[in-house]
Symmetry: C2
Subunit: 374 residues, 2 copies
């Protein structure tokens, strides 16, 4: 068994649950937030720093690491863990979303996808089977199949195509069994509940013993939030309860609270690092943009309620100064703090589910989040 | 006494010596290498990381910190140490070199220098007395007076002007006594030994009890190395032995070895951080440029003989990959390693002077250093 999942408690008032996932590279508690190391590094941070802030599992991208540094190099190092020097669990996204978001560079056929490298134009052809094999070579603990998301908004033809191709490729991925890593299924079906229901109906007819978790793909593509939550709710209600559910690419702190309440266990998002690099910091009092001159004399920590080493060491004024002089250091300082913030939020969510107070502690409170990227 | 200096041993075959400097913010051994935090941060590195690699004293720049964040903010924080969260000794350069290198933006008068901010054009007027007061406000452990270096090559008129103005300003700086920080004298005099001798003759007639160390300024301005060493030798022979000597802005590992042999105790240089950010790594086998594709499969550490945590953790291939994808992390990794390399070199120099083997260990060996910045 490449992955074991145990539900420790289910919330009585919502669909939230807490659990534990065990992989060959260690275990993690759910709900979990996975920092994003798309190209083999969580931007600005070392593995030892991720450990300091309680990161338990990171996410990398099969397609990006396929282009650079290439499979041969990762294979030579015995896999991604050793190459990156991260010894905890790694989930690798297939890169379906990334490949197909460059429409002009790719072409789908029955067999797979032909695409040109955005770096040097080299042409590649990859099949669902290749994508799985590559992740096996990487030594990924959690393997994502090649999927074909619909873009938002989507015509019914596009939705059908996304559903059909993703389902077909999922079947072929399952046929790669047995695998060292744990294969998840990515559910697609555009933005219509009926198409999503159809997808899961078909999915539930497959050999689920070969699927270790379910991901909800194709969300967070600028669709209205009501659509997102309707689809998450529908999906969680229709898939088996005993496997982890992963909402791909989501989201803000509020999104995470909402999604946990609907039964989601796993999250990844570039927000904490990307916003951090743009001088935005998450705090328990809302989001602040530290580059603003209003902070130039502010001797308080980034977040007075935060226990991370950045908040225990530096002032807002100093970090503001570092951004102002275009120093590199503050990009790291806020990436560190923001990921800590996310981990801490998830930890408090887990604790409240454990206590049975999740609904009152989180759902009934407004969490401040007003990011206007400028 | 804001600064005490004790020579622990003088080399019998060269002018090298080892010593200890005590300041209000702690002590450091000499020879010493001071990482450069021009604008209030050693680029990419946190104070805690500098401590890890045995940094004992850092250098900052009065002029740059005067422009940003400005004195008021640093004063509000009770000085630079608390603002930056570095609790060890700080030497602040005056910024004379930086002000006068922007010739179009500054104008010298008897009283001081009028200059325009390179950031927003704001006009400022600073005197030698202001520069001292600002460093007192910063809480600098070692204070550098405003100086006026000659550029290379220099006419005899320019050399005379540099000598005259720097001497005049030095006298006015001495008159600011008593100071909380330890005032150093910066020796100038262009690139002619006679002008340098004249400067030191005048200097030696001043009240040396108010001067805690001597800096050699105006070097490393593209003059031939023979000129540099001739001036360093002349200067060291003419100034009193019982105070630390600081060769400003120098240099490569070979430069440091040579300068130590001539009696220099203190160094600062941007090379380890600037080269690091450009993927160059110092190693005991010479300098390597890790971005080069020759390292793409190299599973050895940056420097197999190095004990720093970067070398104990990562491969050349991984760091090369990070540079290749334009990640931010490797800028820090190589800055960290390169400063460690410099500290380690200086430590080995100190040990060899202590053993009495400095000449055989270092001077008679060729140290590899072939950086062609590309």
């Amino acid at each position: 068994m490449p992955l074991e999942f145990k539900i420790l408690k289910t919330d009585s008032k919502t669909s939230a649950r807490i659990g534990k996932v065990v992989t060959e590279h260690g275990e993690f508690s759910t709900p979990v937030f996975m920092p994003v190391a798309t190209k083999g590094a969580v931007k600005t941070l070392e593995p030892v720093e991720l450990k300091e802030i309680s990161t338990e599992i990171i996410l990398s991208n099969t397609y990006h690491m396929f282009l650079r540094p290439g499979i041969e190099i990762i294979e030579r190092f015995g896999g991604l863990h050793n190459f990156m020097r991260w010894d905890g669990p790694i989930l690798t996204d297939s890169g379906g979303y990334q490949i197909f978001s460059q429409k002009d560079l790719c072409k789908i056929s029955d067999k797979g996808v032909k695409f040109k490298s955005y770096i040097d134009g080299t042409e590649y052809f990859l099949t669902p089977e290749n994508i799985i094999q590559i992740q096996e070579t990487y030594g990924s603990d959690i393997i994502m199949p090649l999927d074909f998301p619909a873009s938002y908004p989507s015509t019914s033809t596009q939705t059908e195509e996304s559903t059909k191709i993703t389902l077909d490729w999922l079947k072929r991925s399952i046929n790669c069994h047995p695998l060292k890593g744990a294969l998840f299924a990515i559910t697609q079906g555009g933005f219509e509940t009926t198409a999503r229901e159809h997808f899961i109906y078909e999915l539930n007819n497959l050999d689920l013993s070969k699927i270790y978790g379910f991901a909800i793909g194709g969300m967070s593509l600028n669709e209205p939030k009501e659509i997102t939550w309707k689809i998450v709710e529908t999906t969680c209600n229709l898939i088996t309860k005993d496997k982890p559910r992963y909402l791909m690419g989501v989201g803000t702190p509020q999104d995470i609270v909402k999604a946990v309440s609907l039964g989601i266990d796993m999250f990844d998002c570039i927000l904490p690092t990307r916003l951090g690099r743009n001088s935005w910091a998450f705090t328990n009092q809302g989001v602040v943009k530290l580059k603003n001159s209003v902070y130039k004399n502010d001797d308080s920590p980034v977040d007075p309620e935060c226990g991370c080493s950045v908040c225990k060491t530096y002032s807002r004024a100093y970090i503001r100064h570092l951004f102002n002089i275009e120093e590199i250091l503050p990009l790291k300082l806020l990436s560190y703090h923001n990921i800590y913030f996310y981990h801490n939020l998830i930890k408090r969510i887990r604790e409240s589910i454990s206590r049975g107070t999740f609904e009152t502690d989180f759902l009934k409170k407004q969490i401040e989040f007003d990011v206007k990227l400028t």
